[in-house]
């Protein structure tokens, strides 16, 4: 029987590993997509800069207060943290309403009346300071001697709080967008069908996404955390290898979720709707910008079960509190569950055509 032996063809044996080729292809396609590079590498840094500027620590605040008599104003001004001016009562009430002053001290025959909003923490502080100044000026002596020993601790600032949050959010979006869009696009363009018509091992196609994601992760996390360290001095109190482990675990859990989201969608529109549906609750509930504990107790179990909450909790525990993995079993188990369950579900329902 005739064997096809093209006269001119140069026949060769095994070529480069297909897994390597597939992974390289993923890189090429990613690097040739300028928008993707912006969202994954540049955007988190811009966000961190913005938040860093907005919430940078200022020198201790000076509280603006008002007093109805010069004598009262003089007493108040003995405290360096208070800045008092003399105003009449109607003007003072107006300035209280507009927020120009926090407390209005009104001299009365029986002594002094403080007018302020007790739901405003700053106003309450100013009220305490004002009263201390007035009492001291009137001759009150401390019953117990007290000295101040000031510390300015990194790790307690807003920027320290928000960096792990942004890191978690970035790990989520890059994994879900990265996998979801690429897979659904390949399906829509019938490239998936063409690939399964070739001898390509199917697992290698999925593995190439995970591999390229992990390499990208190293670059992305290093740039972002390096920037946070250098620009804001964000602390790394836990073991660094455990932080790396948490980043990998988080990324894999979201890859798995991205795979599930992309498992059946046939069009980019459907996929993008699904991805937003999956990510939106986490953007809101998972404590990127403020603590997730602020949500009512009834929904806390749900909030805790979200992969992004678990990711951010464990990143904060590592970076800010210096806890070790053994002290964060719950969030780590939640992440593991999100890694394993969606992955097998996705494999079961994955549509190659």
């Amino acid at each position: 029987m005739p064997k096809p032996k093209p006269s001119s063809s140069v026949l060769t044996g095994p070529a480069a590993s297909s897994l390597l080729q597939l992974t390289t292809t993923r890189f090429r396609l990613f690097l040739r997509e300028p928008e993707a590079i912006f969202w994954i590498f540049v955007f988190p840094i811009i966000l961190a800069i913005g938040l860093g500027l907005a919430f940078r620590n200022k020198p201790a605040d000076v509280y603006q207060v008002g007093a109805t008599t010069p004598h009262l104003a003089k007493s108040l001004n003995t405290d360096r943290v208070l800045s008092a001016k003399v105003i009449d009562e109607p003007t003072g009430i107006h300035q209280l309403a507009t927020g120009d002053i926090l407390v209005l001290a009104i001299a009365s025959p029986s002594g002094v009346t403080y007018k302020y909003d007790d739901t405003n923490p700053d106003a309450r502080t100013a009220r305490l300071l004002a009263d201390r100044a007035v009492q001291t000026a009137a001759g009150r002596r401390e019953a117990v001697h007290a000295d101040d020993n000031l510390v300015h601790e990194t790790g307690a600032r807003y920027i320290d709080f928000v960096v792990p949050g942004l890191l978690g959010m970035n790990l989520m979006s890059s994994a879900i967008w990265g996998l979801g869009f690429a897979i659904v696009e390949a399906r829509q363009k019938k490239l998936l069908k063409r690939l399964v018509a070739s001898p390509m091992p199917k697992w290698q196609y999925l593995a190439s996404f995970v591999l390229s994601r992990l390499v990208m992760l190293v670059i992305e996390v290093t740039i972002f955390l390096g920037f946070a360290r250098i620009a804001f001095g964000v602390p790394f109190r836990g073991p660094i290898w455990q932080l790396a482990f948490l980043c990998v675990l988080t990324s894999l859990a979201f890859c798995s979720l991205g795979l599930l989201v992309a498992a059946r969608a046939k069009t980019m529109e459907a996929a993008s709707g699904l991805m937003n549906l999956v990510m939106l609750p986490m953007w809101i509930l998972s404590g990127v910008f403020f603590s997730a504990t602020r949500f009512p107790a009834v929904i806390q179990p749900f909030v805790r079960a979200l992969p992004l909450t678990a990711a951010i909790d464990s990143l904060r525990s590592n970076m800010l509190q210096g806890l070790t993995l053994s002290q964060m079993r719950l969030p780590v188990s939640v992440l593991l569950a999100w890694l394993i369950i969606p992955f097998f579900l996705a494999l079961k329902i994955f549509r190659w055509r």
Partner: protein, 324 residues
């Protein structure tokens, strides 16, 4: 005429031993339509076989069942003596596939795309070699997005060939291409035939099937309604020539008047145009003129052409391939 060709007997005795492709009683129904309806087929090694038929005839479903991309409801599929259940891994290495409407990633270059596909095969053709034979040398560094339709199709062909396949499937390889790009691709297929590869292609262009295929199966409604070499099929119409004419006015025309002429095999009317299948054109035509004149019928149109596979399809189904 249909009966002569419906049985799927091999064209040559030799291929019965170990055919490249063997289909027995293949059936596939979708929710609303039976796409493949009891199909039998054998394709010999080294043969270029064409499945010809209108859109929706079941060609793509058939070829995708052969390619292991769709499972048949019932029936046997054997390729190179293997079947998909037992021999998938080996078959994927030994066959090449070009699908309809595959879009390769826009931002990958020609060379990168071919290299990727080459990596899936244990053995195959050198990437440089395949770029040369697909005549894509000038485009090797170009991204897929910038290729013309013909170049994209040649890239798809290159990706189907990198594994040096014994059996090659081409699904509508020239659909949507301009005439020049089509001829270019035909030349490429000619080269593959010369190299002794078995090729199975689908097309709804009869000129393509006539030009490329050693044997053709005409498909309609999920069945092969005629099978043979293009020459065999054309002669099965009963004449190698087709005479088409129209009469002015609307006379009461009786085809029997013409069918007595020696060499005229059959008569049919398609959209007001009379079509005669004629085997002896040089003797029949003068007699046609005489008969028409004797009856006082006046011609408004008259032309002849060599019979094509299109005429075969028309005579079998009463429909044109184009608008079937």
């Amino acid at each position: 005429m249909a009966t002569a060709a419906t049985t799927a007997s091999p064209a040559t005795g030799a291929l019965a031993a170990n055919p490249a492709l063997l289909l027995r009683g293949l059936r596939k129904a979708f929710v609303d339509v039976v796409a493949v309806d009891g199909l039998n087929l054998e394709v010999a090694r080294g043969e270029c076989f064409g499945l010809l038929g209108p859109n929706g005839a079941g060609k793509t479903t058939t070829i995708e069942i052969c390619e292991g991309l769709t499972t048949a409801d019932s029936g046997t599929v054997e390729l190179l003596g293997l079947d998909w259940r037992r021999g998938e891994a080996e078959l994927r290495q030994r066959i090449g596939i070009q699908l309809q409407e595959t879009q390769f990633p826009d931002k990958l270059t020609v060379e990168e795309t071919i290299r990727l596909f080459r990596s899936f095969f244990h053995r195959g053709i050198d990437v440089e070699e395949i770029i040369k034979s697909a005549e894509l040398e000038e485009k090797r560094k170009s991204r897929v997005v910038g290729l013309s339709g013909g170049q994209k199709q040649r890239l798809a062909m290159a990706c189907a060939l990198v594994g040096n396949p014994e059996l090659l499937f081409l699904d509508e390889p020239t659909t949507g291409l301009d005439p020049q790009a089509r001829r270019h691709l035909w030349d490429l297929v000619d080269e593959l035939k010369k190299a002794g590869r078995t090729i199975i292609l689908t097309t709804h262009y009869m000129d393509e099937a006539e030009r490329l295929c050693d044997r053709v199966g005409i498909m309609d409604h999920g069945k092969i309604i005629a099978l043979g070499t293009p020459a065999e099929l054309i002669s099965s119409v009963g004449g190698e020539h087709i005479v088409e004419f129209a009469l002015s006015g609307s006379p009461t025309f009786d085809p029997a008047t013409l069918l007595v002429i020696p060499g005229i095999q059959s008569h049919r009317i398609d959209a007001g145009l009379h079509q005669l299948a004629v085997s002896e054109l040089h003797t029949a035509v003068p007699l046609i003129f005489t008969k028409l004149a004797e009856n006082g019928w006046h011609l408004s149109e008259f032309r002849t052409h060599s019979a094509t596979l299109e005429d075969v399809f028309v005579s079998l189904t009463g429909r044109n391939l184009r608008d079937a």
